[in-house]
């Protein structure tokens, strides 16, 4: 049984690594095509299958540029990998390794589906889709495989946060080891930005954790399947998390660590060849991680409303009915179908969020650094705190203990939206006055000089 668990883990790791690397490569292609389309160009559409290399009489197949990721990868591998003489060699080599390792390790706790049946299906074994509650022994004897590399990690979100903090080391080390002013500035900016935005990211998450009562990502999905998506019940938290996620993955409009127009390439200016590829892939994986987190924390993960994906969450001994009654029925085919639908739904949602990331890239100009910091500390932090308080109050009212009143289950939703809009408008009004540090006519000459 132990060997089975090990084999299962290795298969999942292999699937995940292969899927992530291939997915990242093709998402890069998608990003390039979308960037081109938004700029009224066509993008890379030539590289397909170079059949003429095999036989000169055969024509090359273009396949809409689907061979481009392979060509890009080959280019990176075969290009000269130049290490400048002025760099700190050990750290220079270490930085891309750290950043890619952490970016990949994060996915150990991120579910990429629900569970798949394994062996013979019976009603009893498939009642629980609340992993973590039953733990890994459930996995061994119940003959179902949870689609996450490390199932039942109760500190899942803390693991994600810890590793994304370690990823900052890769950026800072890369900037520092390059021994180059632009790289160093990029590294500095990145450290300041990522540390600043981890607070709103954590605050956005705290509301979800408070409502779900767990840090386990699979449990959070299960709670949403039962009680509704958190994007509906916690709009403010979702917003704070979304903005912080953009900043954490250093995407436009928050790509100050590597803005080409100011810092050439930021912290990876001095890198070339395969090391640069590692940096770029890691950056892309950060975006994919954030897309996964947004979907899992706020958009219900694999869940779709109206029980299309079906949910069989054993709560207080009752089974919640579902449209495709796969887990409860004897039919293994239906169970597999449902598992596949859940994986597809999750992937479709993640893809939608990634496409949103790519659209935003061409929609907004980059923030100035002081604006970035003001947004983090003066806007997002208060908003996150307000959201946290609101969620805490609602959760307290939902459980009739403190005040002895029980509010209806639909009431928190308009309440949360009302508070969200009010907080958003008031904070934005207050902050726009505070953040104005331009020289004014009313200032004294000295103040003007220092302001200029």
């Amino acid at each position: 049984m132990l060997s089975f668990a090990i084999v299962e883990s290795f298969v999942k790791i292999a699937l995940l690594l292969g899927g992530l690397m291939t997915g990242a490569a093709y998402l890069v292609l998608l990003e390039r095509r979308m960037a081109a389309w938004i700029q009224d160009r066509r993008g890379p559409n030539r590289v397909g299958m170079p059949l003429s290399l095999i036989n000169s009489r055969w024509a090359d197949l273009r396949l809409f540029g689907l061979g481009q990721p392979l060509a890009d990868g080959l280019k990176f591998i075969f290009k000269e990998e130049f290490t400048p003489g002025h760099v700190d060699r050990k750290l220079f080599v270490l930085a891309p390794i750290i950043i890619l390792t952490t970016a990949l390790t994060v996915f150990a706790v991120i579910p990429f589906g629900s569970v798949i049946p394994f062996g013979s299906a019976s009603a009893e074994t498939f009642t629980s889709v609340m992993p973590g509650s039953s733990g890994s022994e459930n996995l061994l004897d119940a003959r179902q495989i949870e689609l996450v590399v490390a199932p039942g990690v109760d500190v899942g979100m803390i693991f994600v946060f810890a590793l994304s903090s370690v990823a900052v080391y890769g950026v800072i080390l890369g900037g520092w080891a390059s021994n180059n002013k632009y790289s160093f500035l990029g590294g500095l900016r990145s450290s300041a930005q990522l540390i600043a935005y981890e607070l709103p990211l954590g605050l956005g998450l705290l509301g979800v954790v408070l409502a779900a009562g767990s840090l386990n990502l699979e449990t959070i999905i299960g709670e949403q399947a039962l009680n509704g998506w958190y994007v509906v019940t916690q709009p403010l938290g979702f917003f704070v998390f979304l903005v912080a996620a953009f900043a954490e993955s250093a995407r436009l409009p928050f790509d100050l660590p590597e803005c080409e127009q100011e810092l050439i390439g930021g912290y990876h200016t001095e890198y070339s060849g395969i090391k640069l590829l590692l940096f770029l892939v890691a950056e892309f994986l950060h975006m994919v991680t954030m897309a996964f987190l947004i979907v899992i924390l706020f958009f219900g993960g694999w869940h779709l409303p109206f029980e299309i994906t079906g949910f069989h969450v054993a709560k207080s001994g009752e089974l919640v009915p579902s449209l495709i009654d796969g887990w409860g029925s004897e039919s293994v085919v239906l169970a597999w179908l449902q598992a596949a639908v859940r994986v597809l739904v999750l992937m479709a949602k993640v893809l939608a969020v990634v496409v949103f990331f790519m659209l935003v890239r061409w929609s907004w100009p980059r923030f100035r650094f002081d604006q970035l910091m003001a947004l983090a500390w003066k806007v997002m932090l208060p908003l996150g705190m307000i959201n946290f308080v609101v969620v805490a109050v609602i959760e307290e009212l939902r459980d009739p203990g403190l005040f002895g009143v029980r509010i209806d289950s639909w009431l928190p939703i308009p309440l949360a939206w009302l508070v969200g809009v009010t907080a958003w408008v008031s904070v934005s009004h207050l902050v726009s006055r505070i953040a104005d540090n331009r020289p004014h006519r009313s200032l004294s000459p000295d103040a003007v000089d220092s302001a200029i």
């Binding site: 700029q39 066509r42 659209l359 929609s363 408008v425 020289p439 000459p445």
Partner: protein, 181 residues
């Protein structure tokens, strides 16, 4: 510099309204522009021409300035009278004419050789403007390539063959088409 210095022009930035302060108008504005361009491109309405696959549309071949040609008259003789006006007008000095006595009675001279260095030419069209008999013209052939420098020096035969190549699609200039004669 003092803040009351008359040389300073103080400019008040416009006050942001509700929409600006809450960033909503910015968000909507940016996103609509992006989506508009995206949908336009995905629908295939972009302006890019995938050149080797599809030929670009030349708007008006009569005014396009591509490869030169030497026109022929009704009897198939070269129209050029070797007046050297084109060679004089040429800012790149790429036209080289060797004149000789004309074998025909209707003109005094004709070009014994007429050479244009297509690599030196800047395709300004001054030769076409200068020609008093509409003998030299720029066609709409845009994809001029060659494997050697020598190949790109066009002699009279080559220039006349360009005429044969293009006369089907591009008629000669006449008075009502903006020509001289």
């Amino acid at each position: 510099m003092k803040s009351d210095d008359p040389a300073i022009r103080w400019i008040e930035e416009p006050k942001l309204g509700m929409a600006g302060k809450t960033y909503l108008s910015l968000f909507v504005h940016g996103m609509t522009t992006t989506v508009k361009h995206l949908t336009k491109s995905v629908a295939g309405k972009d302006v890019t021409v995938s050149y080797p696959d599809e030929e670009p549309q030349i708007g008006n071949p009569l005014i396009y300035r591509g490869v030169h040609r030497l026109n022929k008259d009704q009897q198939g003789r070269v129209k050029c009278v070797a007046c050297f006006l084109c060679a004089t007008a040429c800012p790149a000095h790429c036209i080289d004419i060797l004149a000789d006595e004309s074998p025909w009675p209707d003109r005094e001279k004709y070009p014994e050789s007429f050479t244009i260095d297509e690599l030196r030419c800047i395709y300004c069209g001054m030769c076409e403007e200068a020609c008093p008999v509409d003998a030299i013209e720029l066609t709409s052939l845009y994809n001029l390539t060659g494997r050697s420098r020598e190949e790109m020096i066009f002699d009279k035969e080559k220039l006349l063959s360009v005429f044969d190549e293009t006369i089907e699609t591009e008629q000669m200039k006449s008075a009502d088409l903006g020509g001289t004669v």
